[in-house]
Symmetry: C2
Subunit: 343 residues, 2 copies
């Protein structure tokens, strides 16, 4: 049904002529047409207005030969649906007036009906699918329960999320109750996204790498695994854990279709830790898009040669930086599209 | 000469009854007697006044049975000595009005005579050694050239040091010239510290983990290696690279006496990557000091059992957090002091 099925083939581990390419945060940030909408509408208005979210989703598709689109949205729409009132503060980022710090607060949180609270996301999927017209697949996403807990407890972004971690270590029961409520909501949310027609879902564990291997198992992975187990029968699930190199071996044994990796791991080690058996996605250093286009092309070609063309999705190792020149982003994508086997 | 030589024995790989213990950032932050001085004198006044630096260095030694002292100072005193005018801004941290962003700026930077510019550090060492009275060894330290470049180019702290990285990727010649100037100054600085009587030196590569393995070799490790090669004949050198798990194998082959590791790596893997042949230091998650004292004792005991008592220095995996209760810090230290072999 979908004309360019390179991304879906890579998720299934099928042989491809070249790897598919998309870029984390490809929808926005560095594009002038996005910046125009950003100056007109505030952050959550863009997320909550299906027409805007759909438009932003397809903006990079009009410019570049990308092999997948990712719905424009934010991981914080899930806690918002749970009644946790996140704002986006200018030059601060996510902000909670009353961060979650006690068992009483956790107990008061509802597990909402996602159709009532997140209908705007499902409407955005419908509009986006019309615009994409079956040309390329659409990816849906959610934050990992641990990463969402980080924001809910810290109340804002952080270098090391020490308040969130301390909350888990001082009040583990409250932490686990919150993580379970987020997990249940996320499963319902992603299930509905799949019903609405996304071709795959990706879970972003942006702050898993702040935890020790043991604490990662306890506070992050066991909840991601619940989500994977609940969804794997219905759509391919991709898990990206930034800084979670230490858990790659364990993660590769789950019912995932692909694992995202960041740029601190070599392709060879990532393949070794995942026993050469799962599709990997990544892992170009986003700051390396500040190199000149010729250097980018050379580095991308080498990255593909090292990961191998099959069971591989070319991507950045984290989100694109807002100040990347468009021609550099284009060079990254084009280098994948132009890739040829060397022998 | 030094009565408690447990730390020095561990650096030499000698057999010990229990591992030595000290804590990164043990001088200050969480101690009321430190906070009193902090409220009286600004940050760099405390660094630049030998009497204050010496007093802060020994404050934790009066309270706890620590096996080493580390001189109270800051990694930014080296760029300050090079004429790069760092300030400490309230609730912001390190701050440069004019960050280094061009080759012209780099060329204008002098490699100073450390005796003229950093005499206050050497005077602080002299006063501290008098106060320590040969009871325990004193550690001197410096930032890695890469970590110092991060602050010089970014101009402030950052989650990902994208400006610093982009500077290296866009202007590699300027980056390498700056790194070499910092390296030369650091070698002279640490050499003089050793002459003044510190028993070992530690290099902090706090931001090495922001780089890919290849970029780490180019922009960080090759300069750390110059420092290690220049100093190893005169004193034990310890290297701590936060997030630098990917380079541990390579690092273990250098003329270092110990490697610091953070809490994202298991003791078993750290031992394996360093071929069981170097002393390791770490790696308790600083946020885990928010657990109750009984849990801390249990976790510390397990950490020692997993690393093994020999060729091991018990420490945190990064600096202590300012809001740690004193009894929890005490529980960490006491658990090491009380450690007994299980069989």
């Amino acid at each position: 049904m979908i004309k360019n099925d390179l991304y879906l083939k890579a998720l299934k581990g099928e042989t491809v002529e070249r790897p598919p390419v998309w870029m984390m945060r490809q929808a926005g940030r560095y594009l002038p047409e996005f910046i125009k909408l950003r100056d007109q509408y505030d952050f959550f208005t863009r997320c909550q207005t299906p027409e805007l979210a759909a438009e932003i989703t397809v903006q990079p598709i009009r410019r570049f030969p990308l092999d997948a689109a990712i719905l424009f949205s934010d991981i914080l729409v899930v806690p918002q649906a749970m009644g946790i009132d996140f704002k986006m503060k200018e030059s601060v980022g996510p902000w909670l007036d009353n961060p979650i710090r006690t068992m009483e607060q956790v107990k008061a949180i509802e597990t909402p009906d996602v159709n009532d609270t997140l209908g705007y996301v499902f409407d955005a999927i419908e509009l986006t699918l019309q615009k994409l017209d079956n040309e390329i697949p659409l990816i849906g996403f959610a934050g990992s329960p641990w990463t969402l807990l980080c924001y809910c407890v810290e109340g804002k972004g952080s270098k090391s999320f020490d308040i969130a971690k301390s909350f888990c270590f001082q009040q583990p029961e409250a932490a686990h109750l919150l993580l379970q409520k987020i997990t249940d909501t996320t499963i319902a949310y992603l299930n509905r996204k799949i019903e609405k027609g996304v071709s795959a879902v990706q879970i972003f564990d942006s702050w898993g790498g702040m935890l020790s291997p043991e604490d990662y198992q306890e506070f992050s992975w066991r909840y991601i695994q619940q989500i994977v187990d609940a969804l794997a029968a219905f759509a391919p699930v991709v898990v990206f854990g930034k800084g979670c190199w230490f858990a790659l071996e364990e993660m590769s044994k789950a019912k995932i279709s692909a694992l995202g990796v960041d740029w601190t791991i070599t392709p060879e080690l990532a393949r070794k830790l995942t026993q050469n058996k799962v599709t990997l996605q990544g892992n170009f250093d986003p700051a390396r898009l500040h190199s000149d286009p010729a250097t980018i092309k050379k580095m991308v070609t080498e990255m593909i040669n090292r990961f191998g063309k099959d069971r591989y999705i070319a991507n950045l190792g984290h989100g694109i930086l807002p100040n990347i020149p468009i021609e550099n982003a284009a060079a990254f994508i084009q280098a994948v599209v132009d890739w040829k086997p060397t022998h």
